[in-house]
Symmetry: C2
């Protein structure tokens, strides 16, 4: 086992199993051939051909596309095709900063291979060899990655809220952190990947934030998504990342990015170039 | 002018002007069609076809390939085709950590679009809004980028020395830094690009290092490559990077990576995703 195994877990997909998914003439995702056949049952929302799935072109704006596709997705929810419905609308588009072309229920996003965004907050105390990293254990009842190790705080990026505001919201819900402290989190870039998971094709950008916490900070989970928190010496976190896949797949990637940025990995060590290249698409 | 202009300056190349350059069956670079016609004059070293340039396959090992190609490159130096000869052998290969397939004079590397490596050291004092960055002005007599702004210390990565050892060597030569202080530099990933410059096709990985310096550190250039040093408030460096192309093209890229990693750019600002994606190939 090695850190490269964690990287490889974030780039497993076979494009030949997919056809492009487009909205308003723009390619925004990937759909499996199997799922495409299901979508053909909803011709008002989706136009399916051998080479592509498109949202019907006569649906001319955000509202029309969102409503017609939502109706189809509700039926696919009803028959169990879409699992873990969240009631969280995600934006669908090609540019994070532009108005989205439509919205889509979060649980359906991986089935369409649509790019999704999240905020991942590395919480720690100290520096260098003495740094200790806050690690969370996800609830065993979560839909995705139950029981896996996670960041102190992480969450999806829904429609209609800024990234930093989402960080503050998630820091409150997941760790009971006061807004003033949460606002000291500093952005640090992102990791990105396209990889096949049980829930579908994950095509994500995870925005990384670092927060240096006071030594007496104690996280308190307020939304039931976290079972337990640990404060680990960085070497312990590195060993766990290297030797096991106990961390959720994308959390491991953000953690490795943290190790790279803060000098815990040496570029003189074979594999370093591959690891760093694997952090973003 | 914007930081995205600095990114764009590191991804300007037109593949249709090039054909692949291979050694021992492995693609290691790109050669312009014009330069390929020149290389056809040296059939003992290079086999040139319409679609490719290859080092002659009967040159079976590192020594034979290096010697035969060096003879050809000496002639191209003699007629002025290769400018700025450095007498520095660079490794040629596909994997930074594997034994190279051959070596090649540094000045010829961009003419073959071969991947080259360098170390770029961000020297600074303080942190956050109070951080001050050391900036160097390159000598006006340098072959590449004369008079441009540079890191406190940066240098190419020659054959036969580790990255950290090269950092220590360059910190001594370029800034008069004691080895014990230079060894406190911490690796922080790399930027990479393929871009056309006056010297040829630059296909580089720049390993980034950060060094937090004592407030009383004063750099002294010992190899004549630096004309002057400045200690700038980070906001002044950001403004210069944003509004001008005074920084050397790849130094700007490493500086932007520093700004991203250390939270000086906000992911809520349009353009951020493009900027971060532009930091590595």
């Amino acid at each position: 086992m090695s850190l490269l195994d964690r990287i490889d877990a974030c780039r497993r997909w076979d494009p030949s199993r997919y056809r492009p998914f487009s909205v308003a003439g723009q390619k925004v995702g990937w759909v499996t051939h199997d799922f495409a056949r299901r979508l053909a049952e909803f011709p008002r929302a989706f136009r399916v051909s051998d080479g592509a799935v498109k949202v019907a072109a006569d649906l001319r704006d955000f509202a029309a596309r969102s409503a017609a596709t939502a109706e189809a997705l509700e039926k696919l929810r009803g028959d169990g095709t879409i699992k873990g419905w969240r009631n969280e609308p995600y934006p669908v588009g090609t540019d994070f900063y532009a108005a989205p072309l439509m919205q889509m229920e979060r649980a359906a996003v991986p089935l369409f291979g649509v790019r999704a965004y999240g905020v991942h907050i590395n919480g720690f105390i100290g520096d260098g060899a003495n740094l200790k990293l806050w690690v969370a254990r996800r609830s065993r009842t979560k839909q995705t990655a139950p029981g896996k190790l996670d960041h102190l705080v992480a969450g999806g990026q829904p429609l209609g809220i800024g990234l930093m505001d989402n960080v503050v919201k998630e820091c409150g819900e997941e760790a009971g952190m006061a807004p003033a402290l949460a606002r000291t989190a500093r952005p640090a870039g992102f990791v990105s990947y396209v990889t096949e998971r049980v829930e579908g094709l994950r095509n994500d950008i995870c925005f990384a934030f670092d927060i240096a916490l006071p030594a007496d900070f104690k996280p308190v989970n307020e939304d039931g998504e976290i079972e337990e928190f640990y404060l680990w010496p960085i070497d312990q976190a590195i060993a766990r990342l290297t030797d096991t896949d106990d961390f959720k797949f994308n959390v491991a990637l953000v953690n490795i990015d943290f190790l790279v940025r803060r000098g815990y990995l040496s570029p003189d060590t074979p594999g370093y170039v591959d690891i760093v290249e694997g952090l973003r698409l």
